[in-house]
C-alpha cells in the first residue's frame, strides 16, 4: 500500500513538473513608453534598422534612438503622414503638397503619379506594388506592374471609403484604414472587396493600420485604443492604457511600437 502511495505521489510530482514546463502561449504585454518630446508623430516605420517617424506638426521626418532622441531629420516636407520604409528607402506622402516622394541616402526624389491626389494620407510599398490613401478623394490608388487602378469611392457601404488615411500591402491583400467609416477594409489585388475589420468595436476614427504576424493592428484615434485582430477580423486584444491619440503602429522583431500623436510618445508592447 505504501509503495502504491509513493508511486502515485511520484506520478503527481512528475505531472506537476511537466505542466510547469509547458510553454505559455504568447501574448501582448506593455513594456514601456518612450518620450519623443517635440514630435507629433503620425506614421512610424522601420527602415535601415532605424525607427522613422513623420512629424507632421514640424514638416519633417525624423529617426530616433531607443531613448527617443532624434538622430537624423529630413526637413521641408509638406505635412508628412503615414510613411513606408524598405531596407534603405523611405516613401513619404506629402499631405500638404499632393504628392509622394522617395528618400534615400542620396536625397529626395519625386515619384511620377499619373493621377491627381488630394491630400495623400498614407503610402505603402511591397516589391513592385505601391498603394496611396488619397484622403479627400475617398479612394486608394494602387500601382502594380506598370498599371494602376483605384479602390473605393466616397460612401459608407462595404467597398466604399470615407477619408482613408493609411494603407498596408501584404503578399495578397490590401488593408485600408477607412478612418471616418471607423473601420479597416480589406481588398484583394483585383480591387475586389474582401471583408471589413473593426466595425463592431465602435472605433472613433481608424487612423492607422499595421499588418504583421497574422495580426491586424488598428489605432483608434479618438477612442485612445489599440485593437488587435486575427486576419479574419476576430478581436484578440484591446489596449486602452498608455495611449494618447494613437495614430499608427509598427511591428518590428516581436515588438510593437504605437505612435501617440498627442502624448508625444511611443508606447512599446512585446509579444512574449
Amino acid at each position: 500500500m505504501k509503495c502504491l502511495i509513493k508511486r502515485l505521489s511520484l506520478f503527481f510530482v512528475v505531472l506537476l513538473v511537466l505542466a510547469g514546463c509547458q510553454p505559455k502561449p504568447k501574448q501582448w504585454r506593455y513594456i514601456r513608453t518612450i518620450p519623443i518630446s517635440g514630435i507629433g508623430p503620425i506614421g512610424i516605420v522601420q527602415a535601415a534598422d532605424n525607427l522613422w517617424l513623420s512629424d507632421v506638426d514640424n514638416n519633417r521626418v525624423v529617426t530616433v534612438d531607443k531613448s527617443g532622441s532624434i538622430i537624423q531629420e529630413i526637413n521641408a516636407i509638406a505635412r508628412p503622414m503615414h510613411i513606408a520604409g524598405t531596407k534603405d528607402e523611405l516613401y513619404i506622402p506629402q499631405f500638404g503638397a499632393d504628392n509622394v516622394i522617395r528618400w534615400d541616402a542620396e536625397g529626395i526624389h519625386s515619384i511620377a503619379i499619373a493621377d491627381t491626389l488630394d491630400a495623400p494620407g498614407g503610402v505603402d510599398v511591397n516589391d513592385d506594388r505601391m498603394a496611396i490613401a488619397d484622403f479627400f478623394n475617398h479612394r486608394v490608388l494602387v500601382y502594380a506592374q506598370h498599371q494602376s487602378y483605384s479602390i473605393g469611392g466616397e460612401g459608407h457601404d462595404n467597398g466604399q471609403l470615407y477619408y482613408p488615411t493609411d494603407v498596408k500591402i501584404t503578399d495578397s491583400l490590401l488593408y485600408i484604414a477607412d478612418a471616418y467609416n471607423n473601420r479597416v477594409e480589406v481588398y484583394n489585388y483585383s480591387g475586389k472587396y474582401v471583408r471589413t475589420i473593426g466595425w463592431q468595436e465602435s472605433i472613433k476614427v481608424a487612423a492607422g493600420v499595421e499588418v504583421a504576424n497574422n495580426q491586424i493592428f488598428i489605432t483608434d484615434f479618438y477612442g485612445n485604443r489599440l485593437l488587435i485582430y486575427d486576419i479574419y477580423g476576430k478581436l484578440l486584444y484591446e489596449f486602452s492604457e498608455y495611449l494618447d491619440k494613437p495614430t499608427d503602429a509598427l511591428w518590428a522583431n516581436d515588438t510593437l511600437y504605437v505612435a501617440n500623436f498627442k502624448g508625444h510618445s511611443l508606447a512599446v508592447f512585446a509579444w512574449q
Binding site: G40, I42, V56, D57, R79, M81, F95, G96, A119, G121, F135, F136, Y163, T165, A179, Y180, V205, A207, F221, Y222, K245, T247, F261, K262
Partner: protein, 118 residues
Amino acid sequence: MKITTLQQTKVWVILVTLLVLANTSVWAQEPASTTYIQVRVDGLSCPFCAYGLEKKLKKLEGAKNLQISLENGMATFEVPTNKKPEKAKVEKIVTDAGFTPREIKFSSTPFKANEVPN
C-alpha cells in the same frame, strides 16, 4: 542725322513727364492693407482634418501666414484686403473639407495668439 533743338526739348519733356508719372504712381499707392481671418470649427483636433483644412484654405487667393491650432480648433490667416474673400466662400471651403463652420471672423488687426472667439 542732325537733332534739332525742338526735338531735344520734346525728348526732355517726355522724360520728365515719365519721371513725374512714375513718382506719382508710387507715392499715390497706399500701403496694402491686410485682412485677418479666423475660422473656428469643431473636430479640428484630428491632424488629418486640421492639415486638410489648412491645405484647402491655402488655396484662397492671397492667403498667407496660415496657422492651425489643434488645441483651440481654429485656423487663422491673412489676405490683402483687396482680395478679401466673401464669408460664404470661406464657409464653402470649410464645408468641403468636411467640417461645419462655427464662426468666421474678419478683422483689420491681427488676432491675439490663441484668442478664442466668444
